[in-house]
């Protein structure tokens, strides 16, 4: 193995992948770029770690049924604190699903020999973020990732986009299931009955623009992508009717827990989005808008910037962003072409590691390097929770931030030290720190760090120093 080959292998496994496992650097040194691109070839197969998880449809259907039963019981009992009971009920129903999904995702991240693919799954899952501080997402966040994102990360962006925006997890997270066109059949009937915009606003029904706005701002064009408030409102009308079966009340028809297009709440007529007129066609009207959004140059730039920022540096060069955006547009939104442009860019292979690891990066790479995988779910998930990045909990649809300044607080660093000490004490002297540095970082581990490891007062202290070294804290 030449020095360059060893360095490129370490970059491939750590910067592009989720961190080298023992043996990985040697195995991929022959062709690091080929190792990365090869992970995206061939049809999607469900990884074994994900087999046996409940589908989003099953989780939601069970949850809707349980909620109805609970409400019926409460009405019968006529007591208690309804809000508290409802929230407790949601958590009770959904938390086991969340834990199973988060554990499966983590186990896959720790075991996967295709960790570039896994990193891309996490990247897109964060691009299309839902957050468990909205209780229903406890049950649906993992399903969104596994059902809408995983199968589509190596194909066309439009397929990924459509799968996400029509997944019940996204529809409910951004409140579209109850959004009603002001001139829809449903609203017209309600109006005749005196419910719409009535003096009894309890029954007031109409648009909710949350999903439409975030599709434009976060999922496609980007905040400076050239849309107006008028576009948001108009697009919100376009996607009225994009809903989920089940639930309660007047808009519950359809198979519980599946995406449903409700024609009766869809705003009829043609609409103009970004200066282009879309004739009405029900669901298909929204599909056409999404197709145009996926093709838009602002989307190409937005996606290219985020991808370059994730893999190369917090402030990627305009040249790299241009190159990626061109690859995206020239391939009509083929994500594999985008990844190939990234992997073939020299800038992405600079020896200096410029990305500070997020808590999830850090915990996963530490577990991978030491081949540690706690059996107990709570222990498996506690690292990212302690360090401030609980699975699927970014707190907003913008997802987790992706710059060093968002993660390198003084307290954050102290907590990484504390966690490293606990992990190093657990694995005891079973691992030599120097050997672990070799298998995890290879030539990226510098002399200063190697000296510190050699001089440590105990095996576990040496491991802590390795995990906390500047080289291991970056990728």
């Amino acid at each position: 193995m030449t020095a360059d080959a060893a360095t490129n292998a370490a970059i491939a496994a750590n910067r592009f992948g989720l961190g080298a496992k023992p043996g990985e650097l040697v195995a991929l040194a022959g062709d690091p770029r080929g190792w990365l691109i090869g992970q995206l070839a061939g049809p999607y197969r469900v990884p074994e770690q994900l087999a046996g998880l409940a589908s989003g449809r099953e989780v939601l259907a069970t949850y809707f049924a349980a909620r109805e039963a609970r409400e019926a019981a409460r009405k019968a009992a006529k007591g208690g604190d309804p809000v508290k009971e409802l929230v407790d009920g949601v958590r009770e129903q959904l938390l086991p699903h969340y834990l199973a999904q988060a554990a499966a995702r983590t186990r896959l991240a720790l075991a996967s020999p295709e960790s570039f693919r896994e990193r891309l799954v996490h990247f897109w899952s964060n691009h299309f973020a839902v957050s468990i501080d909205k209780p229903i997402c406890l049950g649906t966040a993992g399903a969104l990732e596994n059902e809408a994102i995983r199968p589509h990360i190596a194909g066309r962006f439009i397929d990924l986009l459509l799968a996400v925006e029509t997944h019940p997890a996204m529809v409910t997270y951004l409140d579209n299931q109850q959004s009603v066109g002001p001139n829809s059949e449903f609203a017209t009937r309600a109006h005749r009955r005196g419910h719409f915009q009535s003096a009894q606003p309890k029954n007031r029904i109409g648009l909710n623009e949350n999903l439409a706005r975030e599709i434009l701002e976060l999922h496609t064009l980007g905040v400076d992508g050239g849309y107006t408030q008028g576009d948001v409102t108009s697009f919100a009308q376009v996607i009225t009717g994009w809903s989920v079966g089940g639930g309660k009340g007047r808009l519950a028809e359809g198979e519980p827990g599946t995406f449903v297009f409700r024609r009766q709440v869809h705003e009829p007529g043609s609409k103009t989005v970004l200066g282009r007129r879309y004739a009405d066609g029900g669901f298909e009207q929204g599909e056409r808008v999404l197709n145009d959004l996926a093709r838009h140059p602002s989307t190409a730039r937005h996606l290219a910037t985020k991808l370059a920022r994730h893999f190369v540096s917090d402030e990627p060069s305009p040249a790299l962003v241009d190159r990626l955006a061109k690859a995206y547009s020239a391939s009509e939104g083929n994500l594999n072409a985008l990844y190939k442009a990234l992997v073939s860019a020299d800038e992405a292979w600079g020896v200096e590691s410029r990305k500070f690891k997020t808590p999830a990066d850090f915990v996963q790479s530490a577990f991978r390097a030491l081949e540690v995988e706690p059996k107990d779910t709570k222990k498996l998930l506690s690292g990212v929770e302690l360090l401030g990045q609980r699975n699927w909990s970014p707190g907003s649809p913008a997802g987790w931030p992706d710059r060093q300044a968002d993660w390198d607080g003084a307290d954050a660093l102290m907590k990484r030290v504390e966690w490293s000490v606990a992990l190093a004490e657990r694995v005891g002297n079973a691992h030599s720190a120097i050997a672990t540095a070799d298998v995890a970082l290879g030539p990226l581990a510098g002399e200063h760090t190697r000296t510190a490891l050699a001089r440590a007062s105990s095996g576990s202290q040496a491991l802590t120093l390795l995990l906390m070294s500047p080289e291991f804290q970056r990728r």
């Binding site: 606003p201 905040v223 993660w407 607080g409 954050a412 606990a422 200063h448 906390m468």
Partner: protein, 402 residues
């Protein structure tokens, strides 16, 4: 196990402290004589100003808000009255007690320099203190610390530092941990490991120092420590209490930032009860815990509570509200000259911003500037570098007692 506090004390005796101090130019908790505590609370997600401070006296309020309108004061679950026109949400009884003590300013129909409706850009503008969401990597509060020439230090409550407090001046962060403290010997070795890595070295030193301070403030208070390591509102209250004590400590920071998400109430916002009410109840308790922790220093304190923008005047189709413009903010503290600051534009459609939002009439930066002058004793000329290009937003006077 040796604590970091003990380590620092021992270090000073053994001369290690001298090395530490040499490695930390400009980082010192010695406070400027004139500086008084200033705490900024950022509520992310766009807090509904018409819910938290209902203008029940506006003739269009009840109709625009419908089922989520807060009832007039007096009745069951009605607003807590402020001045016969504005009230406070009924989930804020402790904040209302501060109003009765003359320690609460309610700023209404206020906004930063931002006029679009993206949370994330809105928060950037709120925190960078400019007109544009990007192009400024530091926050106004960090630049204000810079203007004190190192006399005042800052602290972020949480693991990481939010944009408002980021910048050239080193700033610590703190949140309680459930894991054991790190051995002093390991800290020394980490310091050596980072000797070629200035950013990590700086973080390590800030972290060590803040942990020692926090530990000192919690020492002998097992109850606070236990609650701080727990969950939910008790944890937040314990953090606020400890933060209050740190700010009151002679060698503590004078500026702190708290931030909390979850205010984006697009659906099922609720009125006197429900989603927003639940969150406000928590906020009320956390703000009061801060007061408890500050003790007698509360009388010199001002807390600014703000959000990136407000929400639509009208309820939307899903019993919530969408992104708006004009918002409400609070200034509370023992030093504060309580009142309502509002050049009320009215809620009728013709008075709204773009026909849908509360029109902003008070620049939030004027309030922030006024607080910097009063609490950090900044010279007025320093404001030009703290809030560049915003000269038209004159600092608001008399926010605090002289």
């Amino acid at each position: 196990m040796a604590t970091r506090r003990a380590f620092l004390n021992a270090g000073l005796r053994l001369g290690v402290g001298a090395t530490l101090a040499a490695a930390l130019p400009g980082v010192s908790f010695a406070a400027a004589p004139g500086a008084r505590p200033l705490i900024v609370v950022i509520l992310r997600g766009a807090l509904d100003g018409l819910g938290v401070a209902p203008p029940y006296g506006d003739p269009d309020y009840g109709n625009a808000r419908g089922a989520i309108a807060i009832a007039r004061p007096g009745g069951a679950k009605g607003a807590l009255d402020l001045d016969g026109f504005f009230g406070l949400h009924p989930a804020l009884p402790l904040l209302h007690a501060r109003h009765r003590a003359g320690e609460l300013i309610v700023v209404h129909a206020t906004a930063s320099g931002y006029r679009e409706r993206s949370h994330f850009d809105g928060q950037n503008v709120l925190e960078n203190g400019g007109d544009k969401p990007s192009g400024t990597a530091s926050g106004w509060l960090n630049r204000a610390l810079g203007a004190t020439n190192g006399a005042v230090t800052g602290l972020a409550l949480g693991q990481n530092v939010p944009l408002v407090l980021r910048g050239p001046v080193p700033v610590g962060s703190w949140a309680p941990s459930s894991l054991p403290d790190v051995e002093p010997e390991l800290l020394e070795r980490l310091r050596d490991l980072y000797s070629n890595d200035a950013p990590l070295a700086a973080r390590l030193d800030e972290g060590t120092r803040i942990d020692a301070l926090a530990e000192g403030e919690m020492a002998g208070d097992g109850d606070t420590m236990r609650r701080a390591k727990g969950r939910g509102i008790e944890r937040l209250k314990a953090i606020a209490e400890t933060a209050g004590r740190m700010l009151a400590s002679p060698d503590g920071p004078r500026v702190a930032v708290f931030d909390a998400g979850g205010w984006d109430t697009h659906a099922g916002e609720g009125g006197a009860e429900g989603q927003l009410a639940g969150r406000l109840g928590g906020l009320d308790k956390v703000l009061d815990a801060l007061r408890t922790g500050l003790g007698s220093e509360w009388s010199r304190t001002a807390v600014l509570v703000c959000t990136e923008f407000g929400r639509t005047v009208e309820v939307n189709g899903t019993r919530g509200t969408d992104h708006g413009t004009g918002a409400a903010a609070f200034v509370v503290g023992g030093a504060v000259r309580g009142r309502v600051i509002a050049d009320w534009p009215g809620l009728a459609t013709r008075h709204r911003y773009e026909g849908r939002d509360l029109k902003p009439t008070t620049d939030l930066r004027s309030i922030a500037k006024g607080l910097l002058l009063a609490q950090l004793a900044l010279p007025e000329r320093a404001l030009a570098e703290v809030f560049p290009g915003t000269e038209s937003a004159r600092p608001t006077r008399d926010l605090v007692r002289g």
